[in-house]
Subunit: 500 residues, 2 copies
């Protein structure tokens, strides 16, 4: 085989993988948006077969032979090809350590768990979900030990979403955050509370949907390639390549702000994915490189941009147009305060910027202890509730508003949560760098996202997975990650809203 | 290999095929319902790879060996297993006659054609679509000759949708229909015209959607397994098995009757598919056996049931509830007349029962002549318009309302149209048989579809593809198919509405 032939087979292999990803991603997306309610086991049947086919394709002797040949001749490959071979080989070596029947069983488990979780959440019935959650944690640990037997299994889980992330690093990062945030929260509780009645009322779904599409266009999404659907728990997914991207939202008829920021958050993910250089499509380098960098983009648009004073000013006329009666006698400054109200609350996805990281820390601590064998799944609800009291000072009324609120564990995402908090922190440091060349506030206020998106595209999006997350970070920042930017950002917001 | 092992491999093979069908069906469904508009080529990329995988799976030496082994030992198989082996072997032998690269190219052509057709229809631009349509007809003919070199290629196309159907049979059937319908139409044109203003006005989408779900439940669909979405050109599809069925509709804000009968029509398809015996799921015997039998069910519910006086009486209170201002001073009898107005019109899907078959005949004649080389694709628009004048007496204003109106050819469905007319005729004969034991009108009027559905399930649905269409027909009817039942049914309707 010549190098040229091998490279062309490498491309064909990735195109095939992209087609399976498309099929499986669409079955998942459909299940969470439009599928009739009793069809989960039908989807499970197809997903288990397709993932088995994908597994066989990815681990066949032919595939391994091809990649090893290319790896042995990597001095003849360009940077992108080298990175493809590296990522594929790592993935295959990891996959081959998992017995195929266990891998397929796990795919079926995820589909079943997701379905049971929906029902368990609806009826606040943790016991219904418990056996699935036990299997999910046990499998995560077992697979971690198959792949990296000498490593702490939770470190493996963390590294799965963010190359190189460890418990030690998280402990330090979260420790610092907690010691900063808790005193600020205490101080805020002594101040007059923010009136956020502007977000509450009755907001018809069609008007909220109109707002959603307006926001998508405004922040610069190409609606020819990015779709919107409704779901229980909003998410974003690419189908086959970054040429077909889907975001989702959930409309609360009594509070339009939930869906509004959900759209901007998922829109941030979609901007990142669709911003990959077109030549990366149908390869493993297409789309975002890690969960933390992904969340840095989604939460950059949601919070740093979306909850800024400039954004509130820019969007207010549209709100007044869509909800004229409700917005009569209100003003952008009132809206700005309302969407930045800091207050301990039950639901992570609805938390303000300040308390958000505390929600993440609780999930991080619980995951870490379950995987370490220090906490049993059956005791998760009680421990969840105890920690919400300790960290946020609030009582959890039931598991629906507690341990059952997130879909992540049900989808097998264990070790994922810390990336949200890291993403927040990366975003704050990106902002400071971006401000060296872009007048960010002026762009937002005028509704011209071009310069902001161009900066992100040039520095982050277009690279796809070409660089390791930590390399990309240092390229963008011209230095090391430093959580102080984030802490300073939070302090500034609290000064502005609460005068502290 | 023992027979037991081979049978278990036969089941596994079909489960795998069902998973690929699920994936490809869902990509198609998504493209026609929710996908962003510029994503067709991305879907094409995935579909061509998945269909190649499916082709390899279906034609591999292993698969052929398995099926030939089972075929050689068919005396040890049960009836269902024998039928599975027969259908799979036939399909494989047909497929193997098509070179793989041409098969894949054809899959890509269909995806591209469907996309171009949408745009061509929108702008009434036949020239845009022409090169695709030329390739579609040429490929249909070429594949027909690959598979049955000694058969007339259009006979092959017809037989593809209805085992054993021929031009000769169609010519006879359509000749008879035409000679009956045209004089009736002439007579109607001398009578006072029906006032159908009851269907026209402004009907908000959310109310029409409520009506759609009401109808789905009313006719007996299980909403846990049957979903509804919106599309340009309504269709029905199963995903993976009859456990997940999707129907689609299109809302016209100025005429609620279009979507209403579209839902009942697609609902009839869905009743048939989901009525397959559960043990047929994930095999080639799952779902409807042929296009004609399928259309017999969809048009049975749409017309024979849905446009009956009893149905109009039954549904009227719901219409009055949904559209109270519009329905004030109207009555069920007026609605019954409106939805049975016979009038030459441009659009097949909106045609009344009487003229419907004329629309089909035109398509049938045109297809037949193109495949025979007697008519060129470039001349289709002019010939279409000429025949509409000849058969229906009307002028076609543009290709959007003419040759570009249907999606079938764009999806590669050549030879499909006659099944609509045959389905109509089968349905009328089924009705006469059903009436021997079921008080059909009383059931419809009381809104209790149980006995009607039970009869259809018992006689038709549950068998899936166990029998050849012609065998099934004769089992149901206890005799031969006779188009006179249909002609008598049409005459009865015209007597009732026009007094002729």
């Amino acid at each position: 085989m010549t190098i040229e032939q091998a490279v062309s087979e490498l491309i064909a292999l990735q195109r095939k993988m992209a087609a399976y990803d498309h099929a499986m991603g669409l079955i998942f997306y459909d299940g969470n948006t439009t599928a009739p309610k009793d069809t989960a086991s039908n989807r499970g049947a197809s997903l288990s077969i397709l993932s088995e086919e994908m597994y066989r394709l990815g681990t066949s002797d032919e595939t391994v032979g091809l990649l090893e040949f290319l790896d042995a001749n990597k001095d003849q490959l360009d940077t992108a090809q080298k990175r493809m071979v590296h990522l594929l080989l790592k993935n295959i070596r990891d996959m081959k350590k998992i017995p195929m029947d266990e891998y397929i069983e796990y795919q079926e488990l995820i589909v079943a768990s997701d379905d049971v979780w929906h029902r368990a959440k609806e009826t606040s019935d943790f016991e219904l979900f418990r056996p699935y959650l036990e299997k999910l944690f046990a499998t995560a640990k077992k697979f971690a030990l198959y792949i990296e037997p000498d490593k702490d299994p939770y470190d493996h889980c963390l590294g799965d979403y963010e190359e190189g992330l460890t418990k030690a690093a998280c402990d330090e990062f979260f420790g610092k955050l907690r010691s900063e945030i808790v005193p600020i929260l205490k101080e805020i509780s002594t101040k007059p509370q923010v009136d956020d009645s502007i977000r509450r009322g009755f907001f018809p779904e069609d008007k909220q949907e109109e707002l959603a599409y307006y926001l998508m266009e405004k922040i610069g999404l190409d609606l020819g390639h990015v779709g919107l659907a409704t779901t229980e728990h909003p998410f974003t997914t690419s189908l086959g390549s970054h040429f077909d991207e889907r975001i989702t939202t959930h409309y609360h008829l009594d509070d339009f702000v939930c869906s509004m920021y959900s759209v901007v958050h998922e829109g941030g993910h979609a901007l990142y994915d669709t911003g990959s250089a077109d030549e990366l499509a149908y390869t493993v380098l297409d789309g975002g490189v890690s969960m933390s960098i992904h969340e840095s983009q989604s939460r950059f648009y949601e919070n740093i941009v979306g909850r800024s004073r400039s954004f509130c000013k820019m969007i207010f006329p549209k709100l007044a147009e869509l909800f004229p009666e409700h917005m009569a006698d209100r003003d952008p400054e009132e809206f700005y305060h309302a969407v930045n109200k800091a207050e301990p609350s039950l639901i992570r996805t609805e938390a303000d910027e300040l308390t958000y990281s505390l929600h993440i820390m609780i999930r991080y601590e619980l995951e870490k202890r379950v995987i370490a064998g220090e906490l049993e799944v059956k005791d998760l609800p009680a421990e969840w509730n105890r920690m919400y009291k300790e960290y946020l000072g609030i009582d959890v009324p039931d598991d629906k508003h507690g341990v059952l609120q997130d879909s992540h564990w049900a989808s097998g995402l264990i070790g994922y949560f810390p990336s949200y908090a890291l993403g927040n922190a990366y975003g704050a440091q990106f902002l400071s760098k971006m401000k060296e060349t872009v007048d960010v506030d002026a762009c937002i206020e005028s509704g011209d996202f071009g310069p902001i998106n161009d900066w992100n595209r040039e520095h982050i999006w277009k690279h796809g997975c070409m660089y390791k997350p930590v390399e990309l970070l240092e390229k963008v920042l011209g230095g090391k990650f430093d959580p102080d930017y984030y802490i300073e950002y939070l302090r500034g917001k609290c000064r502005d809203i609460y005068g502290i």
